[in-house]
Amino acid sequence: MSIENEFTGAEILLKALKDQDVETIFGYPGGAVLPIYDAIFGQNFLKHVLVRQEAGAVHAAEGYARSSGKVGVLLVTSGPGVTNVVTGLTDALMDSIPIICISGQVPSHLIGTDAFQECDTTGITRPCTKHNYLVKDVSKLSETIHEAFKIASSGRPGPVLIDIPKDVQFAKSKYIPKNKVNFRKHRIKAGSKSVDKNFVQELVNHIKNSERPIFYVGGGCLNSGPQASQELIKLVNKTNIPITTTLHGLGCFPGEDKSSLGMLGMHGNYEANLAMNKCDLMINVGARFDDRVTGRLDAFSPNSVKFHIDIDQSSINKNVKVDFHTNTDITLTLKEINSFIESNNIELEKKDYNKWWGQINDWRKKECLHYEQGDEVIKPQHAISRLYELTSQKDTFITTEVGQHQMWAAQYYKFSKPNRWITSGGLGTMGFGMPAAVGAQMANPHSLVIDIAGEASFLMNIQEIATAVQYKLPIKIFILNNEYMGMVRQWQELLHGSRYSESYVDALPDFKKLAESFNAVGVRAKKVSDLDDTINEMVSIDRPVIADIWVDKKENCFPMIPSGAAHHEMLLSKYDKENPENQEKGKVLV
């Protein structure tokens, strides 16, 4: 082999990233990745975004991946660099987001000696990645990177980490391009490539014979690609079956459509949860029966036949036993269902489920998301509703932090397209939204990217404002500022006798001045009459903006299924007038 065909490990990494069409990488330099940073210095295809803390890099990569459908990539150094991304890797694993984390490691001969900035990276990240590698031989590097991309993006997507010792970054070898790598099939876990015809036939038969069917759609539909959403819309329109989505399923089906019952689960809509409880046929499309969705398991949808489409075999029968399942890609399966109905001229139109829809419309009359906006103090629900009204005509991406504001965003902001809603669901990572907005804006430079935030979450990764300013990313931070960890405060009020232990956030910064000190723009709305102007101003400024929206400090997020309760045991808000039992504390057991 001639020397000209050999490259250093660092160069091989960059060649492989180019081969994988990576254009953006989020990272933070350090001793063990200096050779890679040296290689980045001498090229121009790859845009490196310097974050201010590694946690920012991993959430930015998640935001990039979710909003673009591509794999997000980050680069961190050994030791603290990589331990700082553990939360984000776990987040990506829980929410099935394809990301690749490249980490530097101390030189091979120092591994195991407690060297400076050494940690057992593969050991620490093993349970929080889909797979991870320690590359000890530079000749294996190209194949490892290509396999990592394949694993991250296929089947149920997830995070993959590649740990590269510093000496391997210097060592030389031949580069093997992506199309020359023979992937070993058993390592890819891509699910079945062919549609299960029996499943499709059974499902269509059950649809024909059911009285009270419902679609229950999750993030898997998103991960199957935009076409899955198209096929789903087609199928729902054809069958007139009501559809509810999980937190991550929002956007897979237009939220404003008449067939949509909105989100289900702990803070889901009254009609969605009751429909799940009373249905006789449940069609689960890429959802995983999470505890926040099912409530108490023994009372979860007791009388339904359950169908489950999920590419991940371990999601089948994990929490809820289903009657029929298929481990095939959602797009393929939905396509087959649609064409089966068409080619067999199955007339579902006549079966309008009138009685079922009548029942659902009765539940809808409850108006579970109703709130009353007074003249002065801004209701957080109103703030989100106005934000939606004033931005829905634009090409908008919404990220969130975690807590009440996140649930209000899910309830009051309506999505018509997939990949527009980027939130931390499974892990519930406070501090996710702002760096995720940085990532989403990198992937969608001409779109409007808004992080709907709470002041407590925002403070967790506030340093990334500097990143947004440096790269001129005009992200908007829309803070529902109630000076509390709102969701903690709500649980303490409802379940812990209003003993607000450590949930009040004292000594908050002045967010307007804070924005200015970062060279971003700060705006503020203190009362409802300021709200629209503040939102319009925020949207019109082509720079990073922090909007400090002062909202009602004591507002709670309803409906709510308390942890351990069942779908039909929902707490509704104090505005619920229909139920005479609704007196004390504004809550009612339905």
């Binding site: 349970p127 797979h131 876990k189 075999q313 371990s314 029968n317 994990k318």
Partner: protein, 178 residues
């Protein structure tokens, strides 16, 4: 329990238990055992016994045999989780196969004090056809193989002899579908 021993067993009175023996074929690469053990501890499953050895040098494959306890639903979930691990080729519950064989090996060191004990030990060793590895003065070492139940029974029987000291090592069950 569809697995039967390659060795005859004198007494059929096996204890009923919800044990399963899982056979897992994996790429023999660094960290694979940690992945599997971590999966069990992280998700709260039990490992009763574990056996790992390379079985195919050409393709660099290892077979891992795991004895675990749990209801059928839990066992299916364990298998699904195992099969999600990248280096895992397949995971099989031997009990689900129409035919499978299972064996375990055990070395038992017995310290006795008198001839009466010696006689009884010898008698059980003969019934269970265990092989004498070493015998001197008041110490005898046997090797016994068969299903785990068979070894359990042998050890139970030994324990009926008072006043002896038993020290042992077991390989954990290994098994093969036919």
């Amino acid at each position: 329990m569809s697995s039967t021993s390659v060795y005859p067993t004198p007494i059929n009175a096996f204890k009923q238990s919800k044990r399963s023996v899982l056979s897992v074929i994996v790429d023999n690469e660094p960290g694979i055992l940690a992945r599997i053990v971590g999966l069990f501890s992280g998700r709260g499953y039990n490992i009763e016994a574990l056996n790992v050895t390379v079985v195919d040098i050409k393709d660099n494959l290892s077979r891992i045999t795991i004895e675990t306890l749990g209801e059928e639903k839990v066992i299916s979930q364990i298998i699904a989780q195992l099969e999600k691990l990248v280096p895992v080729h397949n995971a099989t519950n031997l009990a689900n196969l129409s035919e499978s064989y299972e064996a375990e090996i055990c070395l038992v060191k017995i310290k006795f004090e008198n001839d009466e004990q010696d006689q009884k030990i010898l008698n059980f060793a003969d019934i269970y056809r265990s092989r004498t590895v070493q015998k001197r003065q008041n110490i005898v070492v046997y090797e016994i193989s068969g299903t785990s139940e068979r070894i359990n029974k042998f050890l139970d029987d030994l324990n009926t002899i008072g006043g002896i000291k038993v020290e042992l090592v077991r390989s954990g069950p290994i098994g093969l579908g036919i």
